[in-house]
């Protein structure tokens, strides 16, 4: 094991509060990532302070709307735009909202699209 990594599950409503706690404790936002697990979507918010790595795990249903953390961590806008474009996660109040023009993929929300979708949907926006 190279390093200890802790993961804390967090609810949709506590998200902003917990993130701002991290912010006030001087954590830096390392990354936000999304995993599509069929019927749910898992979002990891990773923080780091003095090489201590901590994760928040938020589980949402597809189509559920969540709050943007870019108000607290400005740099989150990039991750959130990515999530909303690739996974179709609805995120409210992103400071710089590309509105689906971040990567401009050939397939809309490729990570949740099924194989058949991909073939039929040319995805031109």
């Amino acid at each position: 094991m190279i390093e200890e990594q802790t993961t804390i599950a967090v609810g949709k409503d506590e998200l902003l509060g917990t993130v701002s706690d991290f912010h006030s404790q001087g954590y830096r936002l390392v990354q936000i990532c999304c995993t599509a697990l069929g019927d749910t979507i898992e979002i990891h918010y990773s923080f780091d302070k003095d090489y201590r790595f901590t994760n928040l795990r938020l589980t949402v249903k597809p189509g559920e709307e969540i709050q943007s953390v870019s108000i607290i961590y400005w740099s989150a806008f990039a991750y959130e735009n990515e999530m909303s474009e690739l996974f179709g996660v609805k995120i409210r109040n992103i400071v710089v909202d590309y509105k689906g023009h971040f990567y401009r993929t050939a397939v809309a929300t490729p990570f949740v699209a099924t194989e058949t979708d991909e073939k039929n949907d040319t995805g031109k926006e």
Partner: protein, 628 residues
Amino acid sequence: METIIFLIIFPAAISLVLLSIPVKSVRRLIAVIANIALIAGTIHLLYGSAGETIRYELENVWIERAMLTLEVTLSIYILYMGIRFRRYLVVFFTLLQLALLVHFEAFAIPAVPVAHNLFVDNFSIILALIIGIIGSFICLYAIGYIEEYHERHKESEDNRRFFFFLMYLFLSAMFGIVFSNNLKWIYFFWEITTICSFLLIKYHEDEESIDSAFSALTINLMGGLAFAAGISYAGIYAGTLELDRLIAEGGAYAVIPAALIAFAGLAKSAQLPFSSWLTKAMVAPTPVSALLHSSTMVKAGVYIIIKVAPALKGTLAAAMLSYIGGLTFLVASFIAISQSNAKKVLAYSTIANLGLVVACAGIGTNEAIWSAILLIVFHAVAKSLMFLCVGLIENKLSSKEIENMDFLIMEMPKVSAAMIIGISGMFLAPFGMLISKWATLKAFIDFNPVMAIILAYGSAATLFFWTKWMGKIITIKYGLKNREKVVSPWEWTTLAVLSFMTIGVCIIFPLLSSALIEPYIIELFGVSPSMDRFNIIIIMIIMLGLLTILPIALMYYAWLDKDYKRVGTYLGGANVDNVRFLGSLGAQRTADIRNYYLDGFFSEKKLYNYGLVTAVFLVILMLGVVVI
């Protein structure tokens, strides 16, 4: 002499006629006839009187009395205006002037004999040509302009009869200035131009116009006060009221009035400590700017400076004069870089060029005076053309901003062509201004290389702001609507005539020089500068080259050249079409391009303040040295 009197009286009479006739078409007819008469008059003068200076007696007590009465009436009017708008500085200056005048008229006048009240020499013929021809055409232009102006400015009162009254009255006063030998007469006409300017600036009657008008009035009254003081001094101590005698006598008594009159000239031609009024005066309707504030009235200032300069020759005051001119040229050229308002750029460029003339006058060598006169001619033609073009564009685009003139060549090709000629005329070889700048440079080097250095820097700045403006106009974009279909024939005529004149004066300049300027210089100095024949040939070759290559190449590109493929502009490969690109956030944007204004280096406020302080210092030095 009849021609002269005709030229002075006729416009004044026309102005009264225009004021009294209520029918528009009749007024127009009269104006056209009057303009033709004026032009004919000046040309007649050119053929009749060119050569030696001719002086005329015109002794008539009634003229003097009428002038005095008018002067006092005008002063009272100014007093009234000053009190009504609470400009107490104006009131103060007027009162002082009135006091000086009354004192002088009451006590000193009988003692001073005036032999010649009027005169004609080549210099005044040149100015008369400018006033007569350019002035007439500007008045023609104004007929078309004012129509559209009132369409655009529905809120302002339609006072166009009064407007034309003032324009023609002004022409009359200008003729008066250049033909009068009697200082008191000059002063009388001088004050009329001041008041015309005041009333024309505030024509729009909004707060900004009134403010600017009073600013112009205050400064010009200050100049007028100095003028009046100069006359009093000349009358009392030098014992003459004649311009030529005052200059010819020279000596200690002539220096003080000369310096005071030069001071008045500085104020009138908006040299540095006084330059603010001219830039503010740009709120006036554009023909006014063209006529009063670039081609004629401000020229009266430099005219009088050139006239009195010989009296100051060799004194420190003359050196100061040249430094004030040089400084004004430098500072105004620099400030013009940071301006985006077309009329302000023109105003600053006018100030700069007048600065050059003043500097030449201060130097006062034969070469310098020669180039000063050339400068006046070339500047008057090119600058009035520029102003009139801007006026037209302003009416069409409802904006004076240079940045709104992109693609003008596609929207208004003919106006743009006129404008390009005007701009080229202002700084580019082989046009006139460049020839005179060249002569000026030669004069400067022999006088004092510091001035040459100033000229080198200043003309570099000139190059920058003119070229970027020209670049803005000639940017080409397809698919734009032609917007010049509805320009009135009045305006077209004037633009065409002035464009051809800009080229014309350059082609005939050797003639102009040998027929009019050189005799004048020889009369003044005994010797005359002349350009190297080789250089004149070269300039003519460039001119001819341009006049042939340009149309041929344009025709080639317009009709003959078919062997090409059109592609889009380089936009980093993100083209959507020729000018638009796919930008961030999925938006299609147009590549928008603007000029540079280098505000960090040439900010108006900073430079103006520095210039103002230095110029005030120089003016104080100029007057102080004389008094001591």
